[in-house]
Every structure is written in C-alpha cells, then in structure tokens.
C-alpha cells in the first residue's frame, strides 16, 4: 500500500513580541515526522496546550508551518495552494453549532466549497449536495433547513457532509465528539467507520476520550508541551503505556488501575 500522507520535520513556532525590539519565540509544536495510509486512522491525545490542535491546523493548512513539509501521495503540499489542498484535506471542528453559518441554509453551506473549488453547474452542484446528504444519512429535504432547525447530532452530520463533499482523501477532526450524547456519538462513530471502509478515507482525530480512540484508531500519538512523548499502535500503547502522561490519562479515565 502506498503512503498517502507523509509529514517530515513539521514544526511551528510563534513569535511573541514582548517589547517593541524584543521577540520571544514560543514553540507550539516541535519537529514531528509520521506517515499515514489510506483506510488508516491516527489519533492525537494530550492535555490542553500540548499542541495537538496546532498539528491539526497545520495539516489542514489553516496555519503556515515554520519548518518541514507535508507530502500527499509523494507530492509536496504548499500552504498557499489552497485550492488543491482543501479538496484533499478537510477539517471538522469541535462544536457544530458554531462552525455552521446560521444565516445560510444547509444547501448553501454545502454548495459553498463546490462553488469555490469546482466548475460544476448549478444543477450538478445541487445533485452533488443531495448525494452527499444521503451519504451521511440525512434526507435531501434538509437542503432547505437552517442550522438552528437541526439537532446537534444532525449538525455534526452536516459538518461531516461539508468535509466530504469534495471527496477528500484525509479528514482532520478536532474533537468531533466532545459535545455529543452517548447514543448520537455512537451513531457518528459508526458513520465515520462506514465511510472509511467504503471510500478509504484516512482520519486524523484529535480527541481526549480514550474509549473512543481505542475503538477507532490504528495509530496513536500522545503529546505533551508540543512534543510527541509516545507513539505507536493504539492497542499496544493502551495495553502497556510507558510514559507517565499516558498512564495518567489512562488512569484518569479508569482504563488503568493504579497498582
């Protein structure tokens, strides 16, 4: 199987101006390299401020990396090449209620990326929107609804539909299940897994719920202060965690008994 996404020495430092002539460098993410295949899921866990959201943003192209490169199918991706990039790597955000524009109908929300990135005609676009809605398990009538008319689970489905509409290869999800009820969460997990099996999408999940991570991911990164402190196969790491942070996280979710 060919490598879908390869990341080499990716890092991010922010320049913080303390005094007009003095600049302090803050490292949000230290150099990191990894690769991921199609049909695979990578989970990133860690505490607040550990740089996991920064990594997600760098991958999605919302931030410029300080060093390093991202290779997609062996070709380097540039931050400036938005058009090419956003059709391959899409992002889902934490709170669907705030990530959807309340003044646009669902149809318009989903049409926007098509207008910007493809040359489809209006009829083709509508067709595509309907198809994508069906893919995430919503009726095509929802095109005419506005976000406030939907429940939070349905909103997250719309957010997923918006990510799917350009047929991406990779979806980056920043805590997609944090604000969800258990039953809608399981529905969403099922949906994501189904889509992965049919379309071969690779997922990169930022999450702090280890139960879900254990269920859906193949690889796991544990991050602390911008560094990856532990990485490897999910099952191995959760079975025998080496780093204290991993142990602490597992313990705090009662997956490990203190001996």
């Amino acid at each position: 199987m060919s490598v879908l996404l390869e990341v080499n020495d990716l890092s991010k430092t922010y320049n913080k101006r303390i005094l007009p002539w003095k600049v302090k460098k803050v490292t949000a993410l230290e150099k990191i390299s990894f690769s991921i295949d199609a049909y695979q899921t990578l989970a990133i866990v860690g505490e607040t401020g550990s740089g996991k959201s920064t990594l997600a943003k760098l991958l999605a192209g919302a931030e410029m990396p300080s060093t390093g490169e991202i290779l997609l199918d062996g070709q380097a991706l540039y931050t400036k090449a938005h058009k090419e990039r956003c059709s391959h790597i899409r992002m889902i955000f934490q709170d669907p209620a705030t990530s959807l524009n309340p003044s646009l109908s669902i149809g318009q929300i989903l049409e926007e990326p098509l207008k910007l990135n493809t040359n489809l005609t209006a009829i083709e676009r509508e067709d595509k929107v309907k198809k994508t809605l069906a893919r995430v398990g919503l009726l095509s009538d929802y095109m005419w609804h506005y976000p406030h008319m939907l429940s939070s689970g349905q909103k997250q489905r719309v957010a997923l539909a918006r990510a799917l509409i350009l047929d991406p290869k990779i979806i980056v999800a920043d805590k997609p299940f944090a604000a969800m009820d258990p039953s809608t969460r399981s529905q969403m997990v099922n949906l994501l897994l189904e889509l992965q099996q049919t379309f071969g999408i690779a997922y990169i999940f930022v999450s702090h719920n280890l139960n879900i991570v254990k269920h859906i991911s193949d690889q796991i990164f544990v991050m602390q202060d911008g560094k990856v402190v532990e990485q490897g196969k999910t099952l191995d790491i959760l079975k025998s965690p080496r780093h204290t942070l991993t142990q602490k996280l597992l313990y705090s979710q009662q997956m490990l008994r203190k001996s």
Binding site: T48, S151, N190, H215, Q254
Partner: protein, 327 residues
C-alpha cells in the same frame, strides 16, 4: 429518604403549545448517597433541578403527586417557607464554572459575599479577620493549595478546574444536605475531571452530603454514583442501584446505552459497529404519544402508544411494556 419525588410533571405553557417537558417522572434519593441523573440533551435533566429548587419562570407549571424533602412536601409549603428550606439545605453548581463567576470581582470578594451572618461568632470588629479565615478554610477544604493567590485573583486568571472548585467552595459554605451538580465536568480535561469528581466523592463521604449528579457522561456516573435514574425525553426510564442496572437492565434503552459505550463490552473489535438506536431524540414540538422511546425502540408494539406505568421489580423502578432480561 432524603428526597422523594413522585410523578412530577413540568408543563410549558405557551399560546400555541402546551407540552409536558417532564412527564410523570419519579426519583428518590437516600440520605448521603451520590445519585446520578442521566439523560441526553433535552431530556429535562436540568429542568428537574430547576423545578426542585423552585427557580423556574412563570411559563412553567410544576405538578407532582408528591415532592417530599425530608418528609415535608415542598409543593404544599408557602413560597417563603420553601425558599428558606432550599436556602438552608440545597446548593447547586453549574457547568462552565468560569461563566457563572462574576468576572469583575475577585474570587475572595465573591466568597465573602456568600458567607452567611450566622457563621460569624466574634464581635463586629473582628468580622474582617473572621471572614478572611472562613474563606481560606473553605478554599483549603476544596483542595486549592495556593489559596492566597487564588483568593486575590479574578476568575479569568484561573483554570476551569480551579473555578469549579471555587464554585464548590461557595456551595458548601452552609454545609448543605444536598448538592446539585449540573454537568459539573462537562467539557473539561479528563485529568481535571477526575479531580472534581474525587472532590465531590470526598465531600460525600466526609460530610455526609448527598450529591445529585446531573450529567450525560455515563462513565463518570458508573464510577462514582451508587444509584442512578435514567431519563429519556422527560420520562423516567429506569432507576436503581448502578451495579444492578449494569448487571441486569430491564429497559431496552438502558441496555442500549450501556452497550453503546465501547469500553463496557471489552470484547468488541476495534473499528466494529457500535450498537445504537436509530434516529434521534424528538424535539419538544413533536413528542410522540405514550412511551416516548416508541418510534426508536426495537421492541415497540401496539401497547406502546399508552404511557407505561412504572413497575418495581427487585429494587429497580422501570417503565416499559415489554421489558427485557426478565428471567
């Protein structure tokens, strides 16, 4: 019995709409226990807390067969009397603690504000000293190490976990008999979450303070609560001790909720399908008649259009026409 609520109905009165947001719900709490109230968003968990403390607005009407608080029916008392009892015996903490604190005032002043006069023993001249002492003791009690620093800071300078601890400190000032925690750890880091839950557990065992834990996080309820009540769309589904419910749920919804969490059936393969009910919770405008789980329930039959009566069996209280695991 500390709290005994039978057939509580909370009705929303509107010009166009007349719905029972909570429909004949029952809940009873033992003295000194942690009771979990679990339900999905919009199932009326927070509404129950508001109905109990009498903080609902004019739009809502509350009816109940009985709402006994230590043998006294809260609904039959005068408003004044009821407020006194609630003021003395109950306290409440909310989700997103940094929002429920006043951002313009320091933590110290906010704590001073809630110290009741009855707490002071000395003369009026020593009040200042005494106040400081009480506030510090409280902060130490909830496990804040740098209490002096915390005392002088504003809410935005503290982390979410610390803010919640301050909220708890303010709630336990009169040592209430019941602490209502409305999603206290929602949207918190798992490591902070466990601190807050531990603190609640510690207060429960040391001070014999009962905790009503309102949450949708089933995992924390299973780990910390002794008893739980499940709500679905304002109807109580099943209640009983957590251990019994886990071992043998009678209601299909309960069983489904437990199996939908990957952890509890450890033999599930990674990436396999999780069990769920189809559809989503109905909104208030479109509540189904009878058992509100009906349209989503795998065992629904003709009788389910009539609201099921609650049945008591082996310590569980459940309401379903076609229960599972009976024999």
């Amino acid at each position: 019995m500390l709290l005994d609520v039978r057939n509580l109905t909370v009705k929303l009165n509107n010009d166009t709409l007349d719905v029972n947001a909570i429909d004949k719900m029952s809940l009873s709490m033992r003295d000194g226990s942690i009771h979990g109230l679990v339900g999905e968003t919009g199932s009326g968990k927070s509404l129950f807390a508001k109905a109990l403390t009498g903080t609902l607005s004019e739009k809502w009407t509350v009816q109940a067969d009985r709402m006994f608080w230590q043998g006294e029916d809260l609904l039959k008392l005068s408003e004044e009397k009821r407020r006194q009892i609630i003021n003395r015996d109950m306290a409440m903490i909310f989700q997103e603690p940094s929002r429920s604190l006043d951002p313009t005032v320091t933590i110290g002043e906010q704590i001073n504000e809630v110290i009741p006069k009855s707490e002071f023993q000395g003369s009026i001249w020593s009040r200042r000293q005494e106040r400081l002492q009480i506030a510090k003791n409280l902060l130490i009690k909830v496990g804040i190490k740098h209490y002096q620093q915390c005392y002088e800071s504003y809410p935005h300078e503290l982390s979410e976990g610390l803010c919640q601890k301050v909220m708890i400190a303010m709630a336990i000032i009169r040592s209430p008999k019941l602490l209502i925690a409305d999603e206290p750890t929602d949207a918190m880091e798992s490591t902070t979450k466990i601190q807050i839950m531990r603190l609640l557990q510690k207060l429960n065992t040391q001070k014999n303070m009962s905790v009503l834990l309102i949450t949708h996080d089933l995992e924390s309820v299973i780990n910390y609560a002794q008893e739980m009540t499940l709500l679905y769309s304002g109807q109580s589904v099943e209640s009983g001790s957590v251990r019994d419910l886990l071992k043998r749920p009678y209601h299909p919804y309960t069983e489904n909720l437990f199996t939908s969490i990957p952890k509890f059936n450890t033999d599930t393969r990674p990436k396999s399908r999780l069990q769920t009910l189809p559809g989503s919770t109905p909104p208030l405008q479109h509540l189904p008649i009878g058992c509100r789980l009906g349209p989503r329930c795998p065992r629904a039959q003709k009788e389910c259009v009539v609201t099921p009566k609650s049945v008591k069996l082996k310590g569980h209280l459940f309401s379903c026409h076609h229960p599972i695991n009976l024999d």
